[in-house]
Symmetry: C2
Subunit: 208 residues, 2 copies
Amino acid sequence: MCSEPSPGRTARPGRPRSAEADAAILLATRQALVELGWSKLTMGDVATRAGVAKTTLYRRWAGKNELVVDAVAVLFDELELPDLGSLAADVEGVVLQFASILQRPETKTALMAVVAESTRDDALRGRIRSAIVDRQKRLVLIGRERAQVRGEIPYEADAALSARHADLIFDVVAGAVVHRALVSAEPVDREWARDFTALICTGLQTTT
Amino acid sequence: MCSEPSPGRTARPGRPRSAEADAAILLATRQALVELGWSKLTMGDVATRAGVAKTTLYRRWAGKNELVVDAVAVLFDELELPDLGSLAADVEGVVLQFASILQRPETKTALMAVVAESTRDDALRGRIRSAIVDRQKRLVLIGRERAQVRGEIPYEADAALSARHADLIFDVVAGAVVHRALVSAEPVDREWARDFTALICTGLQTTT
DNA sequence: GTCTTTCGCTACGAGTCGTAGCGTAACTGG
DNA sequence: CCAGTTACGCTACGACTCGTAGCGAAAGAC
């Protein structure tokens, strides 16, 4: 026994994969997305930009879809939500956080494309979910809990119903921001965020 | 003078374009979308399915993007909204109308893809707007006016503010449905539509 | 040193793109 | 009926991308 130095950690023999190559590839992918967009981005081009052989890309990613998801996912790491003191302020904060990432050219062109591909590829959908969607969703969950602590919205006894409601809120917030930014193609600025917050907090029938 | 028989109407000499070919191409495009999805759909394949030369496609559409927009756009023609008697019922109706189209495999795979392309192509964005987005938006405008007539929501004096608010509502409704159907990849059924309607009508702070 | 894995490089068949050129078909106006 | 004009089907083409295979060399584990 005791043949494994540490379970799974660098236990494999042979030359290890270059971490620098990984970083260079993902960076090159983002740069290529900005310059070329999704459709004109090619694996060969990314390899050249990264100073790496094309075969190296295919050893690590199955194709363009997976590569781009990973390349864009790191941009969502910066998502954080300081406590702004009220539900309305937190909603506005979430909206502006989403928007700040969605307005970058590399996410603009890549996000919808990989979502489109994911409609025919379950594995890709899972990758998007864990790498991007869940990180966004976390903000919504945090904001809701804060509002409950403040007493702005009630706690829910039924856990299943609570989860369903959280999913709903997330789809509304994320969907609205994405639709505004990419389909309507108009800016998600502070003014829009304020209007949206008013609508989502008090509803249609009380908004003037 | 009087050299034009009727202004622009079939006034041009030469062989007219075959309307049947148009219909066959758009139908073939939708079928190919269902079977192959967006990324594996090729112009040559569509031409073969439609029983048409590849060059004929390029004479009418600049490329895959424009072709698919037109092919999918006709699906949005069926959008209608019977008066269901209340704001809540109308919202639910709009949601289910959107969903019924978005759940079709050809729209699922195509819509996000062309939106992604449109982020780098202004002409394409305009085409999407007039062929698809505006048709959806109409339902929202109709629903709002009905609610105003019923007295459920107030009229707005400021026209600019009124338009801004309508845009907001549209992005929220359409965005939420799209996000639920394509990103979260879960069904937009009557239950979800009811939950969404409750949220959008009365707001977060009054929802249990 | 030996084993194992990764790396860069080259080369390849397969497939797609968008266009050009040709002869033919269809419709208009004199 | 006869030009003139436009659309059509067909073929062929160079350019490009794809994803893979094969090679020798490099890098770490034992």
